[in-house]
Assembly symmetry: C2
Homo-oligomer: 206 residues x 2
Amino acid sequence: MKDKHTDEKQTFIADARRAQIFDATLMTLDEVGYIRASMAQIAKRAGISAALISYHFRDKSDLMDYTLMKLLTDMSTYVLERTEAASSPRDKLKAYIEASIAYQAEKPARNIALIEIVFHARTADNVPYYKLNDDEEDPLESELLRILRMGQEQKEFGEFNVWAMASAIRGGIDEYAFNGKLKGNVDPNSYSMELVNLFGRAVLGG
Amino acid sequence: MKDKHTDEKQTFIADARRAQIFDATLMTLDEVGYIRASMAQIAKRAGISAALISYHFRDKSDLMDYTLMKLLTDMSTYVLERTEAASSPRDKLKAYIEASIAYQAEKPARNIALIEIVFHARTADNVPYYKLNDDEEDPLESELLRILRMGQEQKEFGEFNVWAMASAIRGGIDEYAFNGKLKGNVDPNSYSMELVNLFGRAVLGG
DNA sequence: CAATAGTTTGATTAAATGATCAGAATTCAT
DNA sequence: ATGAATTCTGATCATTTAATCAAACTATTG
């Protein structure tokens, strides 16, 4: 018997169902968090029986992986589209930062769901996702490194360790997702602008 | 009957037991994560019965709160001691960043335990700790804001939103705790130095 | 229309969890 | 030393959970 889940061709109804379950998973993670996001809770929000989730996904881990992947590609698409529209390294960096913060401001529920999964889900041998050194590259990280290297080659940026600079930038962006007090004190547009300015000075290098 | 947990005076043995349970909780969180950190697992590592934990802590949430508070004050003490040793805003900022990264490098287990609690624990009404806008101030955050304001007043730093700058700095520091790939590519001392340099340029202001 | 493949549910199961309690063991005060 | 307070354990309980399965239902197709 062939595995219905790794099989590429899915029926129309199965695809729709999976999409519906994805939406319900998203809502559940946002509303009650990962720990209370049981099959029953997700099913309730989808208006279906819990057993039906098990029919469309191998197990809970499979469901969460599916959800995580969709969330990641969704965010990547959003940010990369806007980054590619700019041309100079400086403008690309600005677009990257602005798009990243804008995504958080526009889709808060997706960001919460993303955080909930990344900090709760673990591999079969119990390694937490947040500790994983992905072999597969994160396109958002790659793009940021590419921008920084390009800026240095074109002498628009100065000298610095691109890994460190990229991490500082990502850290500054992610902080807006984690830090509730920050959200209360600085609106997204202001924060976005401040980050662009301060990292604009930072990349000038030493 | 008086509440033994809110009561300030504890017997010698009770204090020792609580410290022992704290250590076991730390180890358990680091080794298997919050979700699998059951009373039984913690008790096993402490070499006591699970019921004894319930005797010394009201419930699991009480135990985690106690553990979290000790972890936070421990880290604060470490960083603030080293920050206060410096005098000028620029030197204080350097000390703050270096101490924060050094703490992570020296006490990885405590950092993991901290992350596990902050991203798993929730209040009675199910609000995740990472979303809480603490009314009580975080001393590490306050100190950083103080340094930045002092730098601006003394014209050592330029103009910028101190909340945004503080968050970017904290984000850059925290990134080293979250991002496994970063740890693999840049050693703590190098990262620390890069952060000091890049934020050194950033605080010059526009 | 009939048969086959795909979809859905409710009931059930086994495992794990936090909490409680009676009573045993230990320590402490007098 | 003896009674009282504290400390500790093993057993037990109620609850929750992911997963499974037979059976019912629906769509598709020849």
